[in-house]
């Protein structure tokens, strides 16, 4: 924030002008605490703190906020921190991995994961985005089958990559039913696309549903993880954007962490473990 105490209207206006010399932050990193069973009439979400920063800036913000929440929960005794979730950007990857390794070594009481909805959305860059050729055995995950099957264009030529609803519609029973009618296309590719969409949806269901039993959730997540990390890829570009290594890392982090978090939250709402 820039203090404007004592400034005249004109000075404030000149600062607000797009051509002013004020250096602006590009992003705001927000830390939100979610509380399971907050009680009737209380929101489960609470915005705790935020940090203005440049794009994907590496800082100690994650570590500091996590440490404060974790130590407070320990001290209060009645609250406990179950998980820390971030999106799949590279600047948070090291923090997430560090926290998860700490948990597995028994030093932390909370897991850390990459958010499931982000992971599923990110999978589309390779899956249907066409940044690389995604192969499963002898078959190709062929996104061209989607327009052939008459699937709505906004689902496979994505404009809003941040929307959860677009992913849900893409990996819906209606889309799979449409693709499955393509009997004149190569059967292996049609099956690969249908099963991939099925597992994408299964993964989202495992985390977002309010009704499933925790053992079922873990089974669904693990099965989805095995399928979605089994692809090979070929790319003539060879850039980071066109391979699935980052996706695999995020999927693995998420699955390992959620297995523990779900087992711990047997009586609680697992669906709050997401953004």
């Amino acid at each position: 924030m820039i203090d404007i105490t004592g400034m005249t209207d004109e000075e404030v206006k000149s600062k607000l002008d797009p051509s002013s010399d004020v250096e602006r932050a590009k992003e705001l990193k927000v830390a939100v605490v979610t509380i399971q069973n907050p009680g009737v009439g209380k929101s489960p979400f609470f915005v705790l703190a935020a940090q203005p920063q440049s794009i994907n800036m590496v800082s100690d913000f994650n570590k500091d906020v996590t440490s404060v929440v974790s130590s407070l929960c320990k001290r209060e005794g009645t609250a406990s921190l179950v998980s820390v979730a971030a999106d799949g950007v590279g600047c948070d990857a090291k923090f997430i991995q560090g926290q998860l390794v700490s948990f597995l070594r028994g030093n932390n009481n909370h897991v850390a994961l990459v958010d499931t909805n982000h992971n599923t959305k990110n999978f589309r860059y390779q899956g249907i985005g066409g940044s690389c050729v995604v192969i499963l055995g002898n078959h190709v995950l062929d996104p061209a089958l989607l327009p052939l099957a008459g699937v709505a264009q906004e689902l496979w030529r994505v404009k809003d990559w941040a929307s959860d609803l677009v992913v849900l519609r893409l990996s819906s029973a209606a889309t799979v039913a449409k693709v499955a009618t393509l009997i004149n296309e190569e059967a292996g590719s049609v099956c690969t696309l249908c099963v991939t969409l099925y597992f994408m949806r299964l993964k989202l269901y495992a985390v977002n549903t309010k009704k499933a039993y925790y053992r079922d959730r873990i089974s669904f997540l693990w099965a989805s993880m095995i399928w979605l990390t089994s692809f090979e890829w070929k790319s003539p570009l060879g850039t980071n954007q066109s391979n699935m290594t980052i996706n695999r890392r995020n999927l693995m982090t998420e699955t390992i962490a959620l297995v523990f978090a779900m087992a711990r939250c047997i009586q609680a709402k697992v669906s709050y473990n997401r953004m």
Binding site: I4, L16, K29, V33, I35, L48, F61, L72, S80
Partner: protein, 132 residues
């Protein structure tokens, strides 16, 4: 049904219908509705409030000012703790075991605006955000 938003809005409407009670105490549900409406869109609030005989804009602004908290980007470690403890204590079931998660996400900042409350220039996520 009597506790519903619909009944609360009807109560506001009927109370002010004859013009005798110009500034009645509004039911909490109706007030929350109008505050949410104002924070979403000022134009929508004007339209809804005028047609449903709701509170004026200044009433909403006064109400918001009483519950305003310090900026979330200017807090120290001790402030973080006290903020969290204060929130925990408002929870009715806090005495029982409470499970919490921490979510960290990035949002793009686009607009530079002046905040009269903070006496500062701040960056906001959306153009329509009004910081008063």
């Amino acid at each position: 049904m009597r506790d519903s938003l619909l009944c609360a809005l009807m109560q506001v409407y009927v109370t002010k219908l004859k013009g005798k009670h110009k500034n009645p105490e509004l039911p909490a549900k109706a007030m929350n509705f109008f505050i949410a409406c104002e924070s979403t869109s000022r134009k929508a609030f004007d339209f809804v409030s005028a047609n449903m005989l709701g509170p004026c804009l200044r009433t909403i602004q006064r109400r918001n000012a009483t519950t305003r908290q310090p900026s979330i980007i200017c807090i120290s470690t001790s402030d973080l703790e006290s903020r969290l403890v204060r929130h925990f204590k408002t929870l009715p079931d806090y005495d029982k075991s409470t499970l919490t998660e921490l979510l960290l996400d990035l949002m793009a900042l686009k607009y530079l605006q002046s905040s009269h409350y903070q006496r500062a220039l701040v960056l906001s996520l959306v153009e329509s955000t009004r910081i008063i």
